[in-house]
Symmetry: C2
Subunit: 452 residues, 2 copies
C-alpha cells in the first residue's frame, strides 16, 4: 500500500488544483508545478487526474520538464498527449530523453508521426533509436540502453580511470564492460575494483566473467529472472554474434516486474495493464464491454445446460436453489489450482517435467476437500430440505465437480500455453465455464436419474 | 514467463535426479549438486520438488552451500528445513549469511531455537541481528542491512579512497553515506564521483542530498515506491532521531515487489504467497479448505435469497435458468471495478480525494455497459423464451445489478481498508456475495411483482 502520508499530500495538491481551476486563477498551479513537484510527482498527479483536466494541467508543465514527465507516464496517457502534438513539437519536448525511452515512445504513436520525428532527430541519435526499434518492446533489445562504457582487457586500471574521467558518468554506474577489439563481450569490471586496485593492475586480472551476456531477443521476463537470481544492477546485451550492443539497468527491470505483475492481476478481470484508470466513461466502458460479453456467452452456455433439466427443476424447485452452490464450489476450487499453476509456471517451478506429480497431488487435494465439503453441504441440505436422497445427490455432485475442477485447473494453463494463449487472461473464464457446466450436469443429471 | 530453454534444462536435471533416486545410485546427484548448479539453481530445484524428495536432496548439498541455498528458499520451505535442525546445526549452516537474511530466518523458527541460535552467535553479530529483529519484517528496518560505509562531509576524496581501500567492498556498492560526528544522516556520495573528482576535493562539495533518509518504520511498499520513483540502487535508513542505522539495496526491494504482486494475485484465490506449491496433499488441502468454506457460506447466503422465491420459480422455471446469468454479469462488472480500485489504491492514484469522481465515473460505466448488456440479454431472452415481459424483467435486473456492482466495487476497498482488512484478500468474495444477492433479489423480485 502507498503510504498514507504521501496520499494525503497528493490529496492536498489535488484540492488546490481543483480550487484553482474552479476559480480560473491558475497561478497556484504554476507555482506548484514549477517549484514544489518533481517530474515523477507531476507524472503521478497527471495519472491520477480525469482526462479532461489532465490536458489542462499538462500545459502548465514547463517545456524543459515535459519530456521527463512523459517518460514516467503510462503508455495510454503518453500516447494521448503525444497524439495531440506535431512531430516538431514532439522533437522539441523529447530533447533530454534517453534513447531507450524514446524508442518506447515512438512505438506507441502513429507511424507517420514517428517517421517524421526520426527524420528531425540529430543523425547519431536517430541511428541509435532506429537500432533499438529493431527489437520488440518486450525483449532484452527493447529494454536496453545503448550508452555503453567499454574497456579492453589488456589495459590497466590507470588507463581505465583516465578514460572514465573524460566521460560524464551516470551516478548509478556499477560496472563497465570488457570487450575485445571486435567488441565481443568478454566480462565486466566493477567500479569498486577500480577504487581498490593498484593503478598498474591489468583489467584482465580483476574483471569478472560471472555475468553472462543476455541475448537481445530474450524475453523480458527471462531478463527479470536473471537480474533477480543474480542480484544484478546492470547486465550486458549481446547480439547473435556475441557483440556487445547495449546494457539493461535494474530500474527498467523493476518496471518489467511491476508491469507483468499488474498484467497478471488485471488480465484476470479482462483489463489492460497500460489502461488509464481515469479515462472517460465511454472509453472505459468500451474496454470492459468485451469481457462482459465473453462472460455473458459463457453464462448462457451454463444456462443452456441447466435448461435441459427444466422438467426436473419444475418438480423439485430445490434443485434451482442448490445448483449455483455446486457450480460455485467447483469454480473456487478450480481457480485456486489455476492460480497456483499459473504462478508456478511463471516462476519456473512447474514444468511438463513435474506436471504428472502435480496432477496427482491436485487430485488428492480435490478428493480430500471435495469429500469434506460434500459431507458439510450434504448435512446442510438434510437440515434444510429434510431429504437424505437430495443430500446424497448434492454430496456426490460436489465431490465430482471439485475433482474435475482441480484437474481442469492443472491442465488448462498447459493447454492454453501450447496454443500460445495467455493463461492469466483467458484461464479463469474458461475454467468457470467448465466448472459451471460440470456442476449443473453432475448435480441436475444425478438428480434426474435418482430423484425423479 | 520463464524461458523455455531454462525450463528444459531444469526438466533434464529433474529426470536425472529421479532416475538416481529410483536406482539408489546417488553419485549423479552429488556431481550435479557440487559442480553444475549454483546455490540459486539449487534453491530453485528444491522449491520445485515434492516435499519428501526435497529432504533427501537437501542432504546432498554441501554444508558450505546450505546457508546460501537457505536464503534463496521461500519462507515455508526454509522453515521446514530449519525445523529439523538443532540450534547448533543451524549456527553451523548460517555462518556466511548476511545479518538481514539471518534476522528474517530467525523470525520464522520457534522462539526457543532462535534464542538458542542467538546465544551461539559471535557477540557482535548477535547484537546486529538483535537490532534488526526489533523491526517488523515488512518495514524499512526489517529490510535493511547494517553493514554501512560512512564518511564525513569535511574530508576529501583522497581520504575516502584511502579508507575504502582498507575495506572489502561489495561489488554492487553504488554510494557511501555521509554523516556528521553523531552519525546523523546528511547525504550520499556516489562511487563514480570518487573516480572523476580530484583527490583534494571535499566530500561536502560533491555529495548529493537528493536521497532522503527512509524512516525505519516505513512500510516496505512505501520503500519500494521510493526506489521506483527515484530509480535508486541503494537508500539509507534512519531512526526517529535522524541517525543512519542501515541501508536497503535494490535486490531486496525487487523481492518485495515480487512478493507483494504474488500476494495480490494469490490472495484473490485465498492462497498464501509464501506457501509451498509442492507441499503434501493434506497440508495443501487444509490451507485451501478455509477459503472453500467461506465461499460455501456465501453461496448458501445467495441460495437462501433464491429460496425465498421458490413459488415463483415453480411457476416459471425459466427464472431458475436465467438467475445465474443475472448474478454472474454483476459479478464480472463488479470485479473489474474492484480490481481497478485495489490497484489504483496500491499505486496511490486513487485516494479519498478523488473517490467521488471515481464513483461518478464508475456509475457512468455501469449505466452504459448495464444498458448495453440489458438490451442484448433481453433480446436473447425474447428469442429463447418468446416472452417480452420476461425479457423486460431480466433487462431491468441486469441494468440494476451491474450499476450496484460497480458502485460496490468502488466503495468496498475503501470500507475494508478503513476496517484494516486487506481488500485483495476478502474483497472479491464479499463482492460476489453482494452481486449474487442483488442479482437474485432484483431479478426474482421483479419477476414475482410483474410476471405472476
Amino acid at each position: 500500500m502507498h503510504s498514507g502520508s504521501n496520499d494525503a499530500i497528493f490529496d492536498q495538491y489535488r484540492s488546490l488544483i481543483y480550487k484553482a481551476i474552479d476559480s480560473g486563477d491558475f497561478t497556484a498551479i504554476e507555482t506548484l508545478f514549477n517549484h514544489n513537484l518533481s517530474t515523477v510527482d507531476l507524472a503521478h498527479l497527471l495519472e491520477s487526474t480525469p482526462s479532461k483536466t489532465r490536458i489542462l494541467l499538462w500545459s502548465f508543465i514547463s517545456e524543459d520538464n515535459q519530456g521527463d514527465v512523459l517518460t514516467h507516464l503510462n503508455d495510454d496517457i503518453q500516447q494521448a498527449l503525444l497524439g495531440k502534438m506535431s512531430a516538431e513539437e514532439i522533437v522539441e519536448t523529447i530533447q533530454n530523453i534517453e534513447s531507450d525511452d524514446l524508442a518506447d515512445m515512438l512505438q506507441h504513436i502513429s507511424p507517420d508521426v514517428s517517421d517524421r520525428v526520426l527524420q528531425l532527430l540529430p543523425i547519431q541519435e536517430r541511428a541509435q533509436v532506429e537500432g533499438l526499434l529493431a527489437y520488440p518492446e518486450d525483449t532484452a533489445g527493447g529494454l536496453m540502453n545503448t550508452d555503453l562504457i567499454m574497456v579492453r582487457a589488456d589495459v590497466n586500471v590507470e588507463t581505465v580511470l583516465r578514460y572514465l574521467r573524460k566521460l560524464s558518468l551516470p551516478e548509478s554506474l556499477d560496472r563497465v564492460w570488457v570487450t575485445d577489439r571486435n567488441l565481443n563481450y568478454q566480462g565486466s569490471l566493477a567500479i569498486t575494483q577500480l577504487l581498490t586496485n593498484r593503478p598498474d593492475e591489468l583489467v584482465s586480472n580483476i574483471m569478472s566473467s560471472d555475468i553472462k551476456g543476455i541475448d537481445a531477443y530474450a524475453d523480458e521476463e527471462e531478463v527479470a529472472q536473471v537480474f533477480e537470481r543474480h542480484d544484478l544492477v546492470s547486465a550486458p546485451v549481446i547480439n547473435a554474434e556475441g557483440i556487445l550492443i547495449g546494457r539493461i539497468t535494474i530500474d527498467d527491470v523493476v518496471d518489467v516486474i511491476r508491469e507483468n505483475a499488474d498484467h497478471n492481476m488485471l488480465s484476470m478481470a479482462g483489463l489492460d495493464e497500460e489502461g488509464d484508470i481515469f479515462a472517460p466513461v465511454v472509453k472505459s466502458s468500451r474496454e470492459r464491454a468485451v469481457w462482459l460479453g465473453i462472460n455473458m456467452a459463457t453464462a448462457f452456455i451454463a444456462a443452456a445446460v441447466m435448461s435441459r433439466f427444466e422438467t426436473s427443476i419444475a418438480q423439485i424447485v430445490a434443485l434451482a436453489v442448490l445448483s449455483p452452490v455446486v457450480a460455485s464450489m467447483g469454480g473456487i476450487a478450480g481457480s485456486q489450482t489455476l492460480t497456483l499453476i499459473i504462478r508456478g509456471m511463471a516462476t519456473g517451478h512447474i514444468t511438463r517435467g513435474n506436471l504428472r506429480w502435480m496432477l496427482l497431488r491436485e487430485l488428492g487435494v480435490g478428493l480430500l476437500n471435495g469429500g469434506l465439503w460434500a459431507l458439510v453441504i450434504g448435512a446442510i441440505t438434510v437440515g434444510w430440505y429434510h431429504s437424505v436422497s437430495l443430500a446424497l445427490v448434492i454430496a456426490a455432485a460436489i465431490l465430482v465437480n471439485i475433482c474435475l475442477a482441480v484437474l481442469s485447473g492443472t491442465l488448462l494453463p498447459f493447454v492454453l500455453k501450447s496454443a500460445n494463449i495467455d493463461p492469466a487472461l483467458s484461464g479463469s473464464v474458461i475454467l468457470t465455464t467448465l466448472t459451471d457446466v460440470f456442476g449443473f450436469l453432475t448435480f441436475l443429471g444425478l438428480a434426474t436419474a435418482f430423484l425423479l
